[in-house]
């Protein structure tokens, strides 16, 4: 008979759900303990989470996922946390729908919109922050912080409140007021920096070093970025367990595009979907398009730029994952496209007036780029294409405020209404068509 000491460790071994093995440098493959760190000590490359895929494979299945919560935590097995007690606002599992009206207009028969603007704080940032803050608590932190162009600030503040953490958000001082309010409502300390996002980011790297807080997109970044994979997982599941033919993704640092692709690859590797050659295409605003430029010039170097665009949530002049995003676009035979601020605004109206989705400027960038890619034949009419809408229009009302139809003010009488009706019925056209 086995002694207690002999059998118990084995029972625990088999019951244990541990899945994070280490952090590994994407460049030189050096491994590090899975702590709060993001840069390789040896070559300064970015670190990524290494999973125990054999253990994950033994317990994950389509059925196990389908039984999970209706949030991104249904993919718990593939997220970089060990605890089951996650900090959540029920984020993720957002709608994916066949965009027939917009598709018809653009000549795309199989166009889908992934509407991630309906997350709890109205952007896809809830995905990365739920992951980051759950991991941060697991690593012993009680203060959370971020460098943000706005959406991230809102998410960090909300999750910080729910987790009962102290929260500090660092933003460029000229950020859209609705984003400042959207973060401020949750009660964080907001620090406005007189400078652009890249300067905010550099400062945060130094503050993270000095203060030992959990900066979600600095020292917690390897875990944080993994949250974006769920945008790949969900789309595959929502399409009936298959990968799309083509994804169109907005790019700032380039991380989102790389992680959506990684999500599809992980599903394939684990046998949850069949291998399928998904093409990945990236969208940027012309006033900040270092990744698109590098792709066009076939350059190995992503040349930093000074951002100048209304798409502030994408205004990262020195994109950390730009090199990797460009590599994936090339390797999958995708394309990169950039659009003017005018086209961004038209893109916002176009999506609203065809599909009823009001997106922020980043979504305008995606839709305007989608339109160009379709027109130039880079997206084929029958490709099952998914356009990712990552943020909500109520966050950037300023850019469309002066262009939406203004109300006609009349006295409360049918005669007055008839008068105005006759005036307007001949001339009014929707915007952006």
């Amino acid at each position: 008979m086995a002694t207690r000491g002999g059998i118990l460790p084995w029972v625990f071994y088999f019951m244990s759900e541990k899945k994070i093995k280490a952090l590994q440098c994407k460049e030189c493959a050096h491994e590090f303990p899975a702590k709060a760190t993001h840069v390789c000590e040896f070559c300064f490359g970015p670190l990524e989470v290494v999973y125990d895929y054999a253990a994950i494979k033994s317990r994950i299945s389509r059925a196990s996922i389908e039984k999970g919560p209706r949030s991104l935590w249904r993919y718990w097995d593939l997220l970089p946390v060990e605890t089951r007690d996650v900090i959540t606002l029920q984020e993720g599992f957002t709608p994916l729908f066949h965009a027939k009206n917009l598709g018809k207009l653009l000549g795309l028969n199989n166009l889908y919109i992934k509407n991630d603007s309906v997350n709890p704080t109205f952007s896809f940032k809830d995905r990365v922050v739920t992951t980051a803050i759950t991991r941060a608590r697991e690593l012993g932190f009680d203060t959370v912080a971020c460098a943000s162009t706005g959406n991230l600030a809102c998410a960090v503040a909300a999750f910080g409140a729910v987790a009962n953490f102290r929260s500090f958000v660092f933003i460029p001082a000229d950020l859209e007021p609705s984003k400042v309010v959207g973060a401020g409502i949750y009660g964080p300390t907001i620090i406005g920096i007189e400078g652009n996002y890249d300067q905010v980011n550099r400062l945060c790297a130094e503050v993270a070093d000095a203060f030992k807080w959990a900066f979600v997109n600095v020292n917690i970044r390897p875990y944080y970025a993994e949250g974006s994979k769920t945008l790949g997982f969900e789309v595959a599941e929502q399409l009936g367990w298959r990968a799309p033919d083509h994804c169109v993704v907005p790019m700032a640092s380039g991380s989102l595009l790389t992680k959506i692709y990684k999500g599809l690859q992980e599903f394939t590797q684990l046998g949850l979907i069949e291998a399928h050659p998904t093409r990945m295409s990236g969208a940027q605003a012309e006033g900040c398009s270092p990744i698109v430029s590098a792709w066009r010039e076939k350059s190995e170097i992503i040349k930093p730029v000074q951002p100048k665009t209304i798409a502030k949530s994408l205004a990262i002049g020195n994109p950390a994952d730009g090199y990797y995003a460009k590599k994936i676009i090339e390797a999958t035979n995708g394309a990169a496209e950039s659009v003017t601020d005018r086209e961004v605004i038209d893109g916002i109206f176009l999506l609203a007036q065809t599909e009823g989705v009001y997106t922020e400027t980043a979504g305008g960038v995606t839709i305007a780029s989608l339109k160009k890619l379709a027109a130039s034949g880079k997206i084929r009419p029958d490709e099952l294409t998914v356009a990712y809408i990552t943020g909500n229009g109520y966050k950037t009302q300023e850019v469309v405020m002066n262009e939406v139809n203004k109300p006609y003010i009349i006295e409360p009488s049918v005669a007055k209404f008839r008068e105005i009706y006759e005036q307007i019925s001949s001339k009014e056209k929707p915007h952006g068509r």
């Binding site: 460049e27 070559c43 790297a205 997109n217 640092s253 040349k303 990262i316």
Partner: protein, 93 residues
């Protein structure tokens, strides 16, 4: 040509914690070779196995990124200041 090279904190173990060291050389390549001679182990941290400067390390000659000049062949004027700066992996989307 004598130049001053600023060493980032993670590499200062190799320079006995000196933040700035003196070096000789006409080009960035020469400077790196000279740095390796005086502080063995430095080159493998800054350059990959093919001798190329690693992707996440920025080298500046008098505040100018050498990627936008002649790379490792960039000529270094006498008295120049060379900065070796790890790129910070950050960003949001």
């Amino acid at each position: 040509m004598a130049v001053k090279v600023r060493i980032p904190a993670p590499l200062r173990k190799l320079t006995k914690e000196q933040p700035v060291v003196d070096c000789e050389g006409k080009t960035v390549e020469d400077i790196l070779a000279n740095l390796e001679k005086n502080y063995p182990g430095m080159k493998e941290r800054i350059c990959d196995e093919n001798g190329q400067i690693r992707r996440f390390i920025n080298v500046f000659v008098n505040q100018e990124d050498i990627r936008f000049k002649e790379g490792a062949k960039t000529v270094v004027p006498d008295g120049a200041e060379i900065s070796i700066i790890p790129a910070i992996a950050g960003g949001v989307r």
